[in-house]
């Protein structure tokens, strides 16, 4: 299924009315639009990253922004993730609202101190004397031919850290609306894009739309099972839901999209309706967000569960290079369908 299918229903729970005028944008364009709109609105927003200015970003997300807003607002940096991320933390503490692009989530490894020990902590340890309104935009996930250091999903690492917010949009509409909310938020937000989604297209309202952080989105209603997923796994899950429908199984699909803090109420109300849950994510299974969601469901909705909470996730190995491995390593439609059928047995 083409990911644009999601736009038929995605955006539910957002602030927009459905009758408004729409335009078709790619996921990358939608992010670009959000950046441009916010920069237009608020002069304190600056962008920092490698090749984001003159070149427009390796994934073309920041195209045209330096030309439009100037080199003082769109800063090309040296290959110094710890340096420029730390620089953004300092600038955020002192009145700016930086949006940093880390080219691949894999590269956050060299800047982790600034994310985990600095951005996430300084507001708290200072007793609220400073705030760090910083957005760390990066992209993650596998694509065919990507090997171990350019294909990882780190959302669970970030979601583990109090003080960070973690968001990951699945559609162009959510990408624009959530990024705008992230930029307006006074906390550090890790904004996880997915490399496979950049070229996907969908309808985005022409009018202003800010989609609040911390809210999941019900993408498809169903009564037999809840499928909780996000980012590039959502198209996989939607296709599985179609197949299941053909087999007479009614699957509900929730785009979790705000991973920290989690929208616990939406997940719990879904499980109270369907009594069965499967979590699907591209990150590794061990210690992944699925484990957190499963724990939440058994702690807060144990009496509603008719089956153990199940997970479909990446195999716990470094992402291997050969495309021949992909179907074994990654969640697939087939694996999702099988997992649901097992749940229903």
């Amino acid at each position: 299924m083409h990911p644009s299918r999601l736009n038929e229903t995605a955006g539910q729970g957002s602030t927009a009315a459905s009758s408004q005028e729409m335009r078709e944008l790619s996921y990358a364009q939608a992010i670009n639009v959000a950046l441009a709109e916010e920069m237009e609105r608020d002069e304190r927003i600056i962008l920092l990253g490698e090749d984001i200015g003159a070149y427009g970003g390796v994934f073309r997300v920041t195209q045209g922004l330096q030309e439009r807003f100037g080199t003082h607002r769109v800063l090309d940096t040296p290959i110094s993730e710890a340096g420029f991320l730390g620089c953004a933390v300092g600038a955020a503490m002192c009145g700016l609202r930086p949006v940093v692009e880390i080219m691949y989530v894999d590269f956050t490894g060299v800047a982790m101190d600034q994310i985990i020990n600095q951005a996430a902590k300084l507001a708290y340890v200072s007793g609220g004397q400073v705030r760090v309104p910083l957005v760390i935009r990066t992209q993650q996930g596998a694509r065919p031919g990507a090997a171990a250091q350019h294909a990882q999903c780190f959302e669970a690492i970030f979601a583990h850290i109090p003080g960070l917010r973690v968001v990951t949009p699945a559609t162009p509409r959510d990408a624009r609306g959530l990024l705008k909310a992230a930029i307006r938020c006074d906390d550090p937000v890790v904004f996880l894009e997915h490399k496979l989604l950049y070229s996907t297209t969908g309808l985005v309202p022409l009018a202003e739309e800010v989609i609040p952080l911390g809210r999941a989105s019900l993408v498809r209603s169903g009564k037999d099972v809840s499928l909780f997923s996000y980012a590039a796994m959502l198209p996989v899950v939607m296709e599985a839901a179609d197949r299941l429908a053909e087999m007479g199984v009614s699957a509900e699909v929730v785009d979790v999209r705000s991973l920290a803090p989690l929208d616990e109420e939406t997940l719990l109300s879904s499980i109270r309706r369907t009594n069965r849950a499967l979590i699907v994510h591209e990150a590794w299974r061990r210690g992944g967000l699925g484990a957190e969601i499963a724990a939440l469901l058994q702690e807060r909705a144990f009496d509603y569960l008719d089956a153990p909470v199940a997970r479909v996730a990446a195999c716990d190995v470094p992402k291997p290079f050969s495309p021949a491995f992909d179907a074994f390593y990654l969640p697939t439609v087939e694996k999702v369908v099988q997992a649901v059928l097992t749940l229903l047995r």
Binding site: I46, H72, L75, T77, P78, S80, A82, G83, F84, L85, G86, C87, A88, V89, G90, A91, A92, M93, C94, G95, L96, P98, V110, D113, Q114, N117, Q118, L122, A123, Y124, V125, S126, G127, G128, Q129, V130, R131, P133, P162, G163, R165, C185, D186, D187, G214, P261
Partner: protein, 324 residues
């Protein structure tokens, strides 16, 4: 530069206040009143006081776990600093930061850092924001010589250099990183030489001479404010005590070495200078010391009597708008 007796007395008072504050902290630590590690700057007071003397109120300080001196030198209330060290509700950070994070934004003190070298990238961003917002503030970023072996420090120096940021990188070379001698971990003899390779102007000052530190920093501040930043200053200094409260500081350095540096105690040096300049200073300094001692005793007493933080505040402030 001409220093009036009045000015020198002010510097002496501040250095003596920092010394006494820290000696009291050490005692509180040994008594079990202060929990955890504390890293004292006893011996390095001239660096803190001299550097702060060069700053204007609007300037910003980014310092480290060894930064109690830098914090107090900016005029932060010692009572609230004691209370924070003691983990009290009335502390600078409400008891959430402790010794290594004495923050006082109203006095220009941004959160100090306990990750070696993390402050350097942050300081570049603080400076970027000042310039972007057309403020004239400069940023004083302090760290130990050991920090110059961290990648983040070098990334930050390069960033500050290519963007001409108004940062004064003040390196306090106290000869040791924990128990490791400084020069066993770099090839060659000069930290400043490495920094010059980034195209940054460097000064070296006697870190035991408060006037020398102040003069060097004033020049750096002037240049940084005029858009000729960043500037790097290496202050040669020494910590008289151990790396932290549990280190006597004797295993890795000789008694003679410590004695040699103690002979150049910044308080002694300034006292001698004052006595040269004016005859009756001895008596004045003694009176001043008595006043500071009584003042800090009272600050400590008040802080010790303060209540602990309530459980309700535990989850406050993790996020700006919601409870965690």
């Amino acid at each position: 530069m001409q220093w009036s007796v009045e000015k020198l007395l002010k510097l002496y008072r501040l250095m003596f206040l920092i010394r006494t504050f820290e000696e009291r902290c050490l005692r509180l630590s040994y008594q079990g009143q202060i929990a955890g590690s504390i890293h004292l700057c006893v011996g390095q007071e001239a660096v803190a006081v001299g550097a702060a003397e060069a700053l204007q109120e609007e300037d910003l300080t980014v310092t480290t776990y060894r930064g109690h001196g830098h914090v107090l030198a900016r005029g932060v209330d010692p009572y609230r600093a004691f209370a924070e060290m003691l983990g009290r509700r009335s502390g600078l950070c409400g008891g959430k930061g402790g010794s290594m994070h004495l923050t006082a934004v109203a006095q220009g003190v941004l959160p100090p850092n306990s990750i070696v070298a993390a402050g350097l990238p942050i300081a570049t961003g603080v400076a970027l924001a000042q310039r972007y917002l057309r403020r004239t503030s400069v940023v004083l970023c302090t760290f130990g010589e050991g920090a110059l072996n961290q990648g983040a420090a070098h990334e930050a120096l390069n960033l500050a250099a290519i963007w001409d940021l108004p940062v004064i990188f003040l390196c306090e070379n106290n000869g040791y990183a924990e128990m490791t001698p400084a020069y066993s971990m770099i090839k060659g003899e000069s930290f400043a030489a490495r920094v010059r390779a980034y195209g940054i102007a460097t000064y070296e000052v006697d870190g035991m001479d408060v006037c020398a530190v102040a003069e060097g920093t004033m020049q750096a501040v002037e240049q940084a404010r005029a858009g000729q930043g960043p500037i790097f200053i290496e202050a040669r200094t020494y910590r008289f005590l151990g790396h932290y409260q549990a280190d006597p500081g004797t295993a890795y350095r000789s008694a003679e070495e410590v004695q040699r540096w103690r002979a150049r105690d910044p308080l002694k040096l300034l006292r001698a200078r004052l006595c040269e300049q004016q005859v009756d200073t001895e008596r004045m300094l003694t009176a001043l010391e008595e006043e500071v001692k009584a003042y800090l005793e009272e600050c400590e007493r008040r802080a010790l009597a303060d209540p602990w933080p309530e459980a309700e505040v535990l989850t406050e402030g993790v996020y700006a708008s919601i409870q965690a």
